[in-house]
């Protein structure tokens, strides 16, 4: 018993991720935490997307289930689980069954290397970014399988479209990533890294986020990645695979109930995954703004208040809306529920002011805040842009982003070389 406790507590002093330290217990805990966090994030994202989109479109969005529709995603999840699971008679059973599993597995496995903080990652791999790109590209297989196994025209066309799209944008994405990786090698030893944690530490060491590095080269690479990642996840304006007015729902037209919800889960977690790649590579990962300039005790203190303040702000919004709720007996339960939610958020916020917690939570907070910014962008795109046509999409991928990516890569390499020569002279 004592040995087990010691085994568990021995990790607490380590400065490595549980995967690297080889501590099975903490690795398991982290996996569970990431899984839970991801599920909560997807649920929250579902509600937020509907709400934000609705408010962009002068609607209210879900309002019925729970206060301001807060329980809507849960109601949806229950509905999806209880729904009949339909499989087309002519479908290829095994492949039909496998496809959503592959997509979900690919979408979740990438989170193994996502660094939420210097030690807050399940593991740190030497080939971290390569692993992420590779595993997320596996979801193409699931999509193709789903479209083919449905044995129906619309899903097949949708699957071919989305896989062609994902394969072509992966190229541009890869080039942008390579130019960022190139920047990690600009240190005195001249050794770069593919590890996700290493990339963030390189940004820390060089004193700037890679988006500002070699201005505007980093920015252009980031832009290429930002466009390609929307295309990778089949979201508007690149959502032709799911173009409702043309192909009903694309590759998952024939899916229903639980399997459909797996695709849904995979889509949102893939969005979070690519956003976290972008955050890690260009926006400094878990680093708070100005980690080097504003170091020292006063600013450290101020920045450590941020997570708590954010939660208190959310709680304040809840209370504000509680006051605005209609004063009618019918709304009493909803009002109490909203107030209770506000209290929970407020308590979480208060706990985050407690120094040991605030120190540990800070990295995760900054990382999540940056990812949340990307999530908002996704929703914003969806509310603003019309849909591209397929040939225009391909043109954009191959004729605009690819040459741009190559150019940025060559220029980055050139500038890096020049800087190194000057450095040595």
């Amino acid at each position: 018993m004592h040995e087990i406790l010691q085994y568990i507590s021995s990790y607490l002093t380590s400065d490595k991720t549980p995967g690297v330290a080889g501590n099975m217990f903490w690795a398991f805990v982290y996996i569970m935490l990431v899984f839970l966090g991801l599920s909560v994030a997807v649920i929250a994202m579902n509600w937020l997307e509907r709400k934000i989109l609705a408010h962009m479109q002068v609607r209210l969005g879900p309002m019925r289930v729970g206060p301001h529709g807060l329980l809507q995603p849960i109601a949806d999840a229950i509905k999806l689980l209880l729904k009949e699971d339909i499989m087309p008679a002519e479908a290829d059973g095994f492949v039909f069954w496998m496809a959503p599993l592959i997509v979900v597995l690919a979408a979740f496995t990438v989170f193994v290397v996502v660094p939420f903080g210097p030690t807050h990652a399940i593991t740190d791999m030497n080939i971290g970014i390569l692993f992420m790109l590779g595993v997320s590209s596996l979801s193409v297989l699931g999509i193709v399988m789903a479209g083919w196994a449905s044995n129906s025209h619309y899903p097949l066309i949708g699957a071919l479209r989305s896989s062609a799209q994902m394969v072509s944008y992966e190229v541009a994405m890869g080039l942008a990533v390579v130019s960022a990786i190139l920047m990690t090698s600009l240190n005195s030893e001249g050794t770069g890294t593919l590890s996700m944690i290493g990339i963030v530490q390189a940004q820390m060491a060089q004193g700037e986020w890679f988006i500002f590095k070699f201005f505007p080269l980093g920015l252009v690479a980031f832009f290429i990645f930002a466009v390609a990642m929307v295309a990778e996840t089949n979201r508007a304006p690149f959502d032709l695979a799911e173009a409702e007015s043309e192909l009903t729902a694309g590759f998952h037209t024939e899916y229903s109930g639980f399997r459909w919800s797996l695709f849904f889960l995979a889509e949102y977690s893939a969005m979070i995954a690519v956003s976290s790649i972008a955050v890690t590579l260009w926006l400094g990962g878990w680093l708070r703004p100005f980690p080097n300039w504003l170091s020292g005790s006063p600013s450290d203190q101020i920045f450590s208040f941020f997570p708590g303040v954010t939660f208190l702000f959310f709680a304040a919004i809840c209370f504000f809306n509680t006051v605005r709720m209609p004063k009618h007996p019918l709304f009493r339960i909803q009002t109490i529920g909203l107030a209770g939610f506000g209290v929970v958020l407020g308590l979480i916020g208060l706990v985050m002011f407690y120094p040991p917690v605030s120190v540990r939570v800070q990295d995760i907070f900054w990382f999540s805040a940056k990812v949340a910014g990307f999530m908002y962008l996704y929703i914003w795109y969806r509310g603003t842009f019309p849909r591209y046509r397929f040939d225009q999409l391909m043109q954009m991928g191959w004729k605009v982003l690819l040459p741009m990516g190559l150019g940025v890569l060559i220029l980055t390499a050139g500038v890096a070389l020049l800087q190194e020569k000057i450095w040595h002279l």
């Binding site: 492949v95 080939i127 390569l130 590779g134 590209s137 297989l141 193709v144 083919w148 394969v167």
Partner: protein
Amino acid sequence: MLIGGIAVITRKNPVHSALALIITLLAQASLYLMLYAPFVAGVQIILYAGGIMVLFLFVIMLVSIDRSIRERQFNSQWIVGIIAATALGGLFIAVYAKGSSIFPQHVLPAVENDNTQKIATMLYGQYMFAFEIASLLLLVAIIGAVVMAKKRI
């Protein structure tokens, strides 16, 4: 992995074959990881599983498969083929049985930390010429594939 391999060559439906092949490839990627070759494993996943197999699936879906499933699956010289393969297998067994002693029983301790860097240095240093030739080969392959698949040249 072997089951996957067997499935590749026995399934009637090419899509099932392709999926079996994917399973084989992923299993092989994990073997690379066990052999302390993480970079090769990554390349295996990205290129093979992500790229080449999607290409295969694409082509299978483009050429209609309904007819070919119902047809005879093995070609007319299959007996000859099996015999030749068996002979080859016998050769392998003989070689390995004879030469098993030359393989060291111990396992080298290996560090994986700078595997990627070392491979990169080697690719751009010692094997520079081969690397360039490989890129040229890929260029030729791109042009060839486009020319072949185009309707009118």
